[in-house]
Amino acid sequence: MEFLARIEATAFATWVREAPTLWAYPTILFLHTVGLGFLVGANVAIDLRLLGVARQLPLAPMEKLFPVMWAGFWINAASGTVLLMADATTKLTNPVFTIKMVFVALGVVNMAWLKRRLFREPASLDDWPTPPRARFVAVTSLLLWVLATTAGRLMGYLGPVSGLD
């Protein structure tokens, strides 16, 4: 706890939290939202395709969406770390945060598996119906990102709440 208080009291964390400029906390919060949009969004596009939406789309070129997802992921890892530092004693002691991290970790593992296994032979997925395992991965992906997003939102309502969004 003392360690968390020290993080929160660093000059950087204090600046992020208290600087009266939109470039501090508000912009980092915005980046976290954009990262969510691209990480979850690009995942959703592939998931929908695997579940039968826009069936005529060849799967192989969708591999180009993975860099978009990873960009979203790293934007959020970085912006999330800064948001945590600014509010460490509250957010890092919130069990909802731990739950969110579990869902994010599972989501990323699922995403890596999708890339390594299903995109090894993407042409085998082009015909409808896609194999059950592909549909299973798509459903888990959707579920995990919905749960991660929900947990993130609920951090502002459940457990210790500081009022910093």
């Binding site: 939109l22 969510l36 949009g37 969004g41 005529q56 070129p61 978009v68 919905v146 939102r153």
Partner: protein, 178 residues
Amino acid sequence: MGTGMIPLGGEVQAIAAWLSGTWLHRFAAESQWVWAAMETLHFLGLGLLVGTIGVLDLRLLGLARGLPLAPLEKLVPWGVAGFVLNVVTGIVFFAGAPYQYIYNLAFQWKVLFMLAAGLNILVFYTSVARRTWAVPAGEHAPLAARIIGGVSLFCWVAVMYWGRMLTFFRPPFVVPPT
């Protein structure tokens, strides 16, 4: 007053006053869990919108050129679904605290960028839409469509930006002093 960019006339205030007396206002303001649930749905709608319209915009800009455009059109209804979800949840927020929005500069910018995105879609469907949907795998979209895709992406990111800025532009009252 004047925290907002557009000088607000009596009509806007009248709408806000009327909303404050509706069941929707009571529903939204009654419990923080209603608000939390609406926020969660609002973020999920955001993900759906970016995942469909955002991906289409990226393809128009030249990413994943191996994707033919015709089947990508099938993603549009899902984007519309995400947008409708966010309009509905947005109306609940608005009804719950109307004065927090009408006097909010960030809200006014957000609405303007939504209108710009809508106008951009209108331009698309009245100009290059048919030629664009016919673009096969491996080929660039027409220049006009690429510009429209870029404008769309910019507008939606701006909508997210001003949406996130809302809480930092809150007027210092729940009901404006008369």
